[in-house]
Amino acid sequence: MSTLLSLSGIFGSIDKQAAVIVLIGYMIVFLALVILYLVFRYLMPWLFKIKLYRRAAKEGRALDDSEKQVLTGEVNAAIATALYLYYDEIHDYESNIITIRKVSRSYSPWNSKLYNMRNLER
């Protein structure tokens, strides 16, 4: 009981205005982010869908199922990697230029042919 009394004493120091600030403030923070959520969760996809339907109607065809699908980042990354690897391995075009690359070495007695041959006495 005494604990309850002391608690009521502590919370008694918070006036009505503070309680209003806390309640309204927290609600507004929620409201701001919930509105953003609703816009990007429902409104944006809906707008994109309308855009897709209009484009399909303009082209005189029904909307394809594949167009309605939403790909995850992982699927996109897998497709991109596969395409990259595929194109990287293709060898259908060669330059057909054959050159002999001349490698020049700086002179040293250690790689000199003259010194490395046995000099036989004649």
Partner: protein, 445 residues
């Protein structure tokens, strides 16, 4: 765990030293003994005889740091060194803690101080270089610039791919409002309590912005008294807790989640189109600014930075905003905030209370986000369920709290990557805390 114990032990030692040396309600002593001699010697400096070398040496001694040092200075210098230690040894937000730690040392180098004499050295002495730089903190210039850089470096695609997680960023702001109540209970005036509460947002620039408007030592209260200048303690508390996110959050996460919950996998985020990315900052700016116009300096700059990034036609501006500009402002902000903790202003019982409230608010915010994620799971089914740890990232310490969630997720399951999911509440937490700051400003400013 070893890190946690080390940090807590050092903090406990510093707090003990603080309470032991600084008596409640009494500021650290100022040196007044040399004043009369200084005035006298300044007047008679031309008439000094050559034999006054000893007197000159004595004067030099009186103006040196060794003569003017107090326990408060030494405690603050130790705190500065502790910050630098944390930054180098454990790499806790080194980009912030090194400038702040060095700033604390610079701001607490003892020098001759008296009410009548202005040596133009200290951060609170008009005309000093540090005082000019401190203007940016005092008038809230630096925080919007930091937000501009933040906007230019933030990718909101994770948020757009799963907007449901945005609500967790709002839930975690409970820390701000509960701390506001806590500060009122502890006897702070409403504007001061509002400024202290924002520490729970775990966002340094927002904390500085709001404290510079509400608890700046200039504004008058309804009863005719002046509000306390709490910018220094609030900024240091906010940045300290931001840096200590990797220490403070894991125990709360482990306490409130089971191992099974920590292992939960989430649906991979979908790909986001360029148009969505461009529209987000525009719609976000319009919505949040209309709801809370007081947060315009922060959110306006955040979304402006993001438009620079996502428009794709202002690459140079975005590049400058997220690199050179934000680096310069971080250096200036960190240094001046650190230097503003001059012992005689900072070492007060109020600062200790602010640190205590800050810690509580940070824990409440983490727990708030986490528990709200669990609450959301009650209504969600199948693979739409949320790993509750993601809620802990609702405190807007970007990207540290998201990184903590990723690390804890990997500890539970080495193949479960939660970083991208955690980034959503993390960045929405930034928006949420800025909105909360705007609301507090409009009510209490």
């Amino acid at each position: 765990m070893k890190r946690f114990i080390t940090v807590i032990t050092i903090l406990a030692i510093l707090s003990f030293a603080w309470t032991a040396f600084v008596k409640p309600g009494k500021e650290a002593p100022r040196q007044k003994t040399a004043r009369t001699e200084f005035v006298h010697s300044a007047k008679t400096v031309e008439t000094q005889e050559p034999g006054g070398a000893l007197k000159g040496l004595k004067k030099f001694w009186e103006f040196s740091g060794f003569r003017n040092v107090s326990k408060g200075h030494l405690i603050m210098i130790t705190i500065g060194l502790f910050f630098i230690f944390l930054a180098i040894r454990y790499e806790y937000e080194p980009l912030l803690l090194i400038p702040i730690g060095t700033g604390i040392i610079i701001g607490n180098i003892p020098f001759y101080q008296d009410g009548d004499i202005n040596l133009q050295l200290g951060i609170y002495q008009s005309g000093s270089v540090l005082n000019y730089l401190y203007f940016g903190v005092l008038k809230g210039v630096y925080p919007p610039l930091i937000f501009l850089g933040l906007g230019a470096m933030t990718d909101f695609s994770s948020l757009l791919s799963n907007p449901r997680l945005m609500i967790l960023g709002a839930a975690a702001q409970i820390g701000i409002f509960l701390t506001f109540l806590g500060a009122l209970i502890l006897g702070f005036a409403p504007p001061e309590a509002g400024a202290i509460g924002i520490i729970g947002g775990a966002d340094g620039p927002t904390a500085i912005f709001l404290s510079s408007r509400l608890a700046n030592g200039v504004n008058m209260l309804a009863d005719g008294t002046t509000v306390k200048n709490l910018i220094g303690p609030i900024a240091i508390a906010a940045y300290s807790y931001m840096a200590l996110v990797p220490v403070m959050q894991p125990p709360i996460i482990k306490l409130l989640t089971s191992k099974r919950e920590r292992k939960m996998r989430m649906k991979p985020p979908r790909a986001v189109s360029k148009l969505e990315k461009i529209l987000f900052p525009i719609i976000g700016l319009l919505l949040t600014a209309f709801i809370s116009p007081s947060s315009l300096p922060l959110l306006g700059m955040l979304f402006f930075g993001n438009i620079l990034k996502e428009s794709g036609v202002t690459k140079r501006l975005a590049e400058t905003a997220r690199t050179s500009m934000v680096d310069i402002v971080t250096i200036l902000l960190g240094l001046t905030v650190g230097a503003s903790t001059q012992a005689d202003v900072f070492l007060t019982p109020d600062s200790l209370l602010i640190f205590l409230l800050g810690a509580i608010s940070f824990m409440v915010a983490t727990a708030g986000g986490l528990l709200f994620a669990k609450f959301m799971n009650v209504f969600l089914k199948g693979d739409n369920k949320i790993n509750p740890m993601v809620g802990a990232a609702g405190v807007s310490a970007v990207p540290d709290s998201a990184r903590v969630v990723q690390t804890e997720g990997l500890k539970a399951d080495p193949t479960n990557h939660l970083l991208m999911h955690a980034m959503t509440p993390n960045v929405s937490g930034v928006i949420g805390s800025a909105v909360a700051a705007g609301i507090l400003l409009s009510f209490l400013g």
